[in-house]
């Protein structure tokens, strides 16, 4: 992309290691670029970390140590996690004495010996990452910091994530976010390092950015520490890219991938955000997420003809080898679309023998599932424009119930990458103000300016800065009115002048 213009696009299948696919695409892309090598920035939008969580693979054995006793015992860490995910990270949840009251008093003094003993035990059991969560750590982080020092002193090789750096008030949600970052960190750091090395080998000296859940960018170092912030960047990027490509700013975007279909609402070119806590792989966090309905249906979805079962299993990125039309052995949704004449990929002769009426019934079921998902994200019953993107969108007809029109923008296959490339740069600042002295208006003003400055420092164009989020958390009760103010500003990545 150059300013507001798409210069070149390349699309290649995801690879199991992610990096080689990114590199192959970049190498191909560089060939198409006029003035070869003029790259200011590389933005990567990846669902790699999401997939690792969903598939419970490459997760480091992780433990959570909560600093809270005797408080909060009825709900131990990981209490609301799905059993399988809990098992796949080792499911080690410990509680020790520590943590703070709302007013900064200690609930108990930090039990340093218990932390030391716990870490020794965890290390013996092969734990490689530890999330530390202290009650009221956003107000007073001293116990988490001291506990981290003890963990690293006992076991310098262990990756430590502190809950106060992973979100705001809400012990369980913050603890969950820290734990997700802890179990993904090892893999994320490795992946990002290999991408950076590969960029260097291609002669690209531009900085690497990853897109975050909210449609803004973060640098690679930050992303290695907070991989969970990329987790729903996939749908966000697709929706932002679809808006940019189609010119539709208010409507529904249907992104049909290989394994799943994400349906979300666009409002002013941005995904509508969920009002209630959003779950990642069944884990509750307090992150800001696009409000999407996701159904297990995509181009690689496996169809069983005998039982008429469509999904949820999928061949995913192995579609070009495993689909029938590609000479493989799995009957997938894409094969049905080819047999039905909707899609033209692979070799249709492989699916000639499929029963016509079976194909028709299965295709209408696929259509119906997507229509239901579209209906679920709508706020009203009126028909709205629907934008179809993603490689699997060949499964769908141009007539969708609930749609005033169905758009398939050019370059729809790379909507996700465009969403990442047009992403903005964010700056976030949290400060505590005594409102008696500062006044609320002035506190928000001050915090907003600081957030804007941070966004500009990260590369945002000053003329495009916008305050997108203002949060206030009162810290104390009687009699002071100390309040934590948190402001987020975003702006467009400043273009080369």
């Amino acid at each position: 992309m150059d300013g507001g213009v798409l210069v070149a696009a390349v699309k290649l299948p995801t690879t199991a290691d992610v990096t080689s696919g990114i590199i192959a695409s970049l190498a191909e892309l560089l060939k198409h670029l006029p003035g070869h090598g003029q790259v200011d920035a590389v933005m990567v939008g990846t669902t790699h970390f999401t997939n690792a969580l969903l598939e419970r693979r490459n997760l480091a054995p992780t433990a959570i140590i909560r600093l809270a006793l005797p408080a909060t015992q009825l709900l131990p860490p990981l209490v609301d996690w799905p059993g399988e995910l809990r098992q796949s990270i080792g499911g080690q949840a410990r509680m020790v004495r520590g943590g703070h009251e709302f007013d900064g008093r200690e609930i108990s003094s930090l039990d340093r010996d218990a932390i030391r003993d716990t870490v020794r035990d965890l290390r013996q059991q092969g734990v490689r990452a530890v999330a530390l969560s202290g009650v009221f750590s956003p107000v007073n982080s001293s116990h988490e910091l001291e506990a981290a020092a003890i963990v690293l002193d006992e076991a310098p090789e262990i990756r430590v994530c502190l809950s106060h750096e992973n979100g705001r008030m809400g012990l369980l949600e913050r603890e969950n976010a820290a734990t997700l970052n802890a179990c993904l960190g090892e893999m994320a750091t490795r992946t990002l390092r290999s991408i950076e090395e590969a960029l260097a080998s291609l002669g690209i000296a531009a900085p690497l950015y990853l897109s975050q859940n909210d449609g803004t960018l973060m640098d690679a170092e930050f992303a290695g520490r907070f991989p969970v912030l990329t987790i729903s960047s996939g749908p966000t990027n697709s929706m932002r890219g679809a808006a940019w490509l189609s010119g539709v700013t208010d409507g529904i975007v249907v992104d049909v991938g290989g394994t799943s279909t994400d349906v979300g609402a666009l409002i002013n070119g941005f995904p509508r955000e969920a009002a209630v806590a959003v779950q990642l792989a069944g884990v509750r966090t307090n992150f800001r997420m696009p409000d999407m309905v996701s159904i297990p249906l995509g181009g690689g979805t496996i169809v069983e003809p005998e039982s008429m079962r469509i999904g949820p299993e999928s061949v995913g990125y192995r579609l070009p080898e495993e689909g029938l039309v590609f000479g493989g052995g799995s009957l997938t949704a894409t094969d049905l679309a080819v047999a039905d004449g909707r899609a033209e990929v692979g070799d249709p002769r492989y699916v000639e023998s499929l029963d016509r009426s079976f194909v028709a019934v299965a295709m209408s079921e696929i259509q119906r599932r997507v229509e239901t998902a579209v209906d679920r994200v709508k706020l009203r019953h009126e028909d709205v424009p629907v934008v179809l993107v993603g490689g699997g969108s060949v499964l769908l007809e141009n007539e969708l119930s609930g749609a005033s029109q169905v758009l398939r923008p050019d370059h729809a296959g790379v909507a996700n990458a465009i969403g990442a490339a047009i992403a903005q740069v964010g700056g976030q600042v949290e400060r505590v103000y005594a409102l008696e002295q500062t006044g609320r208006e002035q506190a928000i003003q001050d915090c907003s300016s600081a957030a804007a400055e941070r966004a500009i420092a990260a590369g945002a164009d000053p003329g495009t800065i916008e305050i997108v989020e203002v949060d206030e958390v009162p810290l104390a009760y009687v009699p002071s009115s100390a309040t934590l103010v948190r402001v987020k500003a975003v702006g467009n990545l400043a273009t080369r002048s």
Binding site: T72, F136, A275, V478
Partner: protein
Amino acid sequence: MEPASIQCSPYPFLAENDLWQATEDVLESIAIGAGILGTGGGGNPYIGQLRAKQAIRQWGPVTVLSPDELPEDARVVCVGGIGAPTVGIEKVRDLQSYHALRAIEDFTGEKATALISNEIGGSNSVEPLIPAAMTGLPVVDADGMGRAFPEFQMKTFFVYGVPWCPMAIADEKGNSVVIRETIDPRWAERLARSLTVQMGCVACYAVAPMSAAQVRDTAVPLTLSLARQLGDAVKQAGSQGKEPLAAILDTCPGKVLFGGKVVDLERRTTAGFARGTLTIEGLESYAGERMTIEFQNENLIARRDGAIVCTVPDLICAVATDLGEPVTTELMRYGLRVTILGFPAPELWTTPEGLAVAGPGAFGYETDYTPLVL
């Protein structure tokens, strides 16, 4: 066991299924319904639900009795949480209500035979389920508010003559205190609140036992069932692609007061309460208008373009416009799409005695109570 279809004027009357088991799988519905009835306050219903689930998982299901089914010699103890919701999402409540129950039993020398919720709104709705699961005691399908209120004295029990003392208050650290006698329920609130702040703002209390007759005369009946049915309505609408707001209003008659986007939320936490003002900018048919809602933990006064449209004790409830799920005050933030619903208060609150305790005047507003017209 499916709940019977109900009429709701002001609250439903269940002809059958008066006894049901509060098992893990109905708690999610109760949490959603209690969140709606919580009128913005009452604590985080998610955490209450998780705690009750965990207790039932550990100690077994709880039997729910309608007030009519209580034996004449029943001794019913009201238990509840007291504190600030913004603290409760962080220092998650533990087994304080069990400790408070034991403290009041020790002090009075009487054993409880059933427990009752002090308020159906928010996490307090399920608070009795935790000590009930631990002790095997049943829980009465009723409560002392029919909604949520910020202060201890604001219970229909005390409005209609049930003694508020002695009461016990306990924290998670092993401290418990019995308040033997106060000159009025406000003093009990005042003393309990001071203790709560010292205890770290997440305490529980238990009030000396009530008789079956006192429960039947002064409790708002069948509210645990109502919460469950409201939650079922929201969940079923979600899974069947129906309009959740309509499903809510079909379950419990009320009206849409406003719909729009949160544009400002001013919070001041003073003396243990989250007070403040929520401002919503209208969307769709409310475009160009504003609603402001004043809250003190719970939503108290709703103004549409400056004119009062609903006041306490009627219920002012914010739900997510798309899913119908309740949005509590501590989860409110800029940009959220919310719909504001109004429900008429239980009749026990709309008498002169009731309004004296929980009308607009009780919260420092000079405005009179004008009943919500459906």
